[in-house]
């Protein structure tokens, strides 16, 4: 590239940047208050759109000059809908669990008046003397937001917001260097693919760059399918341009002409936001022909997948993009040399691509200084399950599981005991308390039998049965198996049969050995990564929670009282209140009736174990309990019903 061309790119970007900055400044520096509402899917599910509308209506009614803007997910999904009010003279204050009534009050009392309504405050976003800020939360000690930096801070539908916050600067910088330099930068940064397998991204790009065949492709894999994982969706919804910028830089580095975002159709908001982002980028010549006046051209289209889990596997994804059924095929050849339409293709996960701009902007050394020896940068986790602060968290690689669950996630709700954490979805595994001090990175998790996966982290407490959890995940992979190869189609099915038997108290100890053998062979014999990792939940639970399996098989007992076939509901006679009929009225099958002393008794033959009585029994009595194995229920009580 000549100096003149470099100059063209630099000045073209300078122009964009100036325009964006002035728009951004116009929003903030006019001395008026600004309200932002987190309205990604997580927020919308909690009612963010109603809150947004309530703010807009109230601002209009009160006739105040106060822009109300929609932003993405801040990561605090436990307190959605989240609203932040920026009022001059006050720190930016974030309010959790907002609703239309709170919205009206906030406009009247805080935006118009001077009462920050401390009763609704979640935290201030900056340290101050008025209200506690997020910096005072234990999680701020561990969090390091790189990929999630913009999420919840900017309007994802305004490209100017992105550019004003440093967006596309990396692209402009990249276009002024040689593509080899970009690949080299990525290699030196040590970035590994965030989709699960952890393949070095720079190396992948280099193979694709050196591969013969035109046109080359760049694919963004946004086919996030793990139960309990929502990182990719949140990023696409909250900061779509960061992904797009990563794709453009990748394309420039490998010499690709076409880009594809493969996103599930179940993510309509992500699809819409990505589409808007592409349109805006095209308009500003950040996509299309001669990007920013350079001689590099690249365009991106969106492909909506139908939601097959296996299509997250790169070869199946390519088949699906080509219009065929999404079935994986044998590798090698790898997509980097023979991908879409047989042409060299780079496939990267959303988080990988979203990291690229930061590496280009801040340099490989900066990125490599974060994380552990083998895994650089940060890990984005979707915290779900039995944890107080569900939501998104980004921590440097090497943070321990304990820090993520107990400090970032604030531990287990309702005073329950931690039992295990399920990492990496159906391909990952369950790690017990003894593994909590494990520093999280690609290699340590694989060693422990789990997997980084895409970043889903489901916390389980004492009420979760590990056999049932293993069965649940295996049922998922079995249902999502494409059925092409023998081991995955029939092997996981056989495993599921055995596990299902365990949860009903059937099976023998020898079945455990058979299960282990079969699991080992499925791992060794399957065609694609889906099958090769499908036994992980079973193997890890067998390794760490064998006693629970044995209780199911030998005693017909479910220690966590979760497997319905192995439990019985029982009303403790000395706790049951004679004058109370709460359970009788709620029982769906009329299985509960009072005896002569007006103590309620469950007819076990009628009971369908729905658990309604357990919920209905007033907390001051707490007379309904679950008993496992069912034979523990005193037989005298059964006879009482018969009389």
């Amino acid at each position: 590239m000549t100096a003149a061309q470099r100059q063209t790119v630099a000045s073209a970007f300078e122009q964009l940047k100036n325009h964006a900055s002035s728009e951004w400044k116009g929003l903030w520096e006019s001395g008026r208050p600004v309200i932002t509402v987190g309205a990604a899917t997580c927020g919308r599910a909690a009612g963010a759109l109603e809150v947004l509308q309530a703010f807009r209506d109230e601002v209009k009614r009160q006739n105040v000059d106060c822009p109300v803007i929609e932003v993405g997910c801040m990561g605090h999904c436990y307190s959605e809908p989240d609203v932040t009010i920026f009022k001059p003279g006050y720190p930016p204050i974030c309010y959790g669990n907002a609703n239309p009534v709170i919205a009206e009050r906030l406009v009247k009392e805080f935006v118009l008046g001077d009462d920050p309504c401390l009763e609704f405050v979640l935290a201030a976003t900056e340290p101050n003397d008025l209200v506690p800020s997020f910096a005072d939360f234990p999680r701020s000690q561990y969090e390091k937001k790189i990929v999630l930096k913009n999420c919840g801070q900017i309007d994802p539908e305004q490209i100017e917001h992105y550019i004003a916050n440093g967006g596309y600067a990396a692209l402009a910088k990249a276009l002024q260097t040689r593509p080899e330099g970009i690949v080299d930068e990525l290699k030196r940064s040590g970035l590994r693919g965030r989709g699960g397998a952890g393949f070095p991204t720079g190396q992948k790009w280099e193979i694709c760059r050196n591969a013969k065949g035109r046109p080359k492709h760049v694919i963004c894999n946004a086919d996030e399918g793990d139960p309990g994982a929502f990182m990719d969706r949140a990023i696409l919804e909250s900061d779509p341009h960061s992904v797009l910028e990563g794709m453009i830089i990748a394309a420039y580095a490998v010499g690709a002409r076409h880009g594809h975002i493969y996103v599930r159709a179940e993510y309509p908001l992500a699809v819409e936001r990505a589409r808007t982002a592409i349109r805006q980028a095209q308009k500003l010549n950040l996509l299309g022909k001669n990007i920013l006046g350079s001689d590099f051209s690249f365009d991106v289209r969106i492909f909506q997948g139908s939601g097959a889990f296996v299509c997250g596997e790169e070869t199946a994804l390519i088949e699906s993009l080509e219009g065929k059924a999404g079935l994986p095929y044998h590798r090698p050849p790898f997509p980097a040399t023979h991908g879409l339409n047989g042409k060299p293709t780079v496939i990267d996960n959303v988080k990988t691509l979203a990291s690229v701009r930061h590496i280009i902007e801040n340099g490989a050394e900066w990125f490599a200084s974060i994380g552990t020896a083998g895994s650089k940068g940060t890990a984005v986790f979707a915290l779900a399950g039995k944890v107080v602060n569900t939501g998104l968290a980004e921590v440097p690689m090497g943070t321990t599981l304990r820090q993520v669950i107990f400090d970032v996630g604030s531990g287990i709700p309702n005073g329950k005991r931690f039992k295990a954490v399920q990492i990496g979805g159906p391909s990952g595994g369950c790690l017990p308390e003894s593994a909590l001090d494990l520093p999280i990175d690609f290699d340590s998790l694989t060693e422990a039998g789990a997997m980084m996966g895409s970043g889903g982290m489901i916390v389980l407490d004492e009420d979760d049965c590990m056999v049932e959890i293993a069965r649940y995940f295996l049922e998922f992979t079995q249902r999502e198996s494409c059925g092409k190869c023998t081991f995955c189609r029939l092997g996981t099915r056989q495993m599921l049969e055995v596990l299902g038997g365990f949860t009903r108290g059937e099976g023998s100890i020898e079945d455990l050995d058979m299960l282990m053998e079969l699991a080992r062979d499925i791992k060794g014999g399957s065609l694609c990564a889906l099958g090769r990792t499908a036994p992980n939940p079973v193997l890890t639970t067998l390794r760490h929670f064998r006693d629970e399996y044995e209780a199911h098989i030998l005693e017909g007992r479910c220690p966590a009282l979760m497997c319905t076939e192995l439990i019985t509901f029982y009303i403790l006679p000395d706790k049951c209140e004679r004058s109370c009929d709460a359970c009788v009225g709620t029982c769906t099958v009329e299985a509960i009736s009072p005896n002569k002393k007006r103590i309620k008794v469950i007819d076990q033959d009628k009971c369908v174990k729905c658990g309604t009585c357990l919920v209905a029994c007033p907390p001051q009595y707490n007379a309904v309990i679950k008993v496992s194995p069912p034979s523990e229920v005193p037989t005298a009580e059964k006879q009482a019903v018969e009389r």
Partner: protein
Amino acid sequence: MRTVSLTIDGQKVTVSEDAKVLWAALDNGIYIPSLCSLRDRLEPAASCRLCFVEIEGYTRPVTACTEPVKEGMVVNTRGADALRLARTGFELLMASHPVDCAHCAANGVCELQTIARHLRVKLKAKRFKKLLRELPIDSSSLELVYDPNKCVLCGRCVWICRERLGIGVLGFAHRGFRRVVTTFGDAPLGESGCTGCGECARACPTGALTMKDHQDGLNKNRELAAAP
């Protein structure tokens, strides 16, 4: 055409440089169990997972149908790890295959019988639970009978019908355990546009697709060696 030399089970063989290990072995009289492979299918399906072999320098068994030959390669088709995988795979297939050889038109020429003998596995192996699908038999075609229960989903028929013959009557439908070879819209073979050429039956390694004139206790009339 350039050739390479490699050793399979101690036997030195010389084959074309673009051959795969599976065909290098089969062409030289060394049997490797396989259901889904077809010689002219250049991108192997690699779906039956039976042709595992061990190769010196590799950490784990690989499928012979996908492995290109290399000069000086040393292949062992009877390694313990490879055979273990093949046996498990085969037992899984048999656990979902109705074993009724005496009343099956493929009796005697069935590839499953050959593989069972080779791997020394019983056709009615006890390790896994019998999981049958109990699908209806399609005898609507004048020439063919299709019993989906006996199908091992190797995909030979689908590939031949679509790629080799360009007819495309047969295809796969559904996923996972419900995956099945069928016609467009599940139409009976007799109403599907099937030409009745019988190439699929000739390639079928089991008794899933058979010619009608070979049903009466006769063996499936196939030239086994030439079939793949």
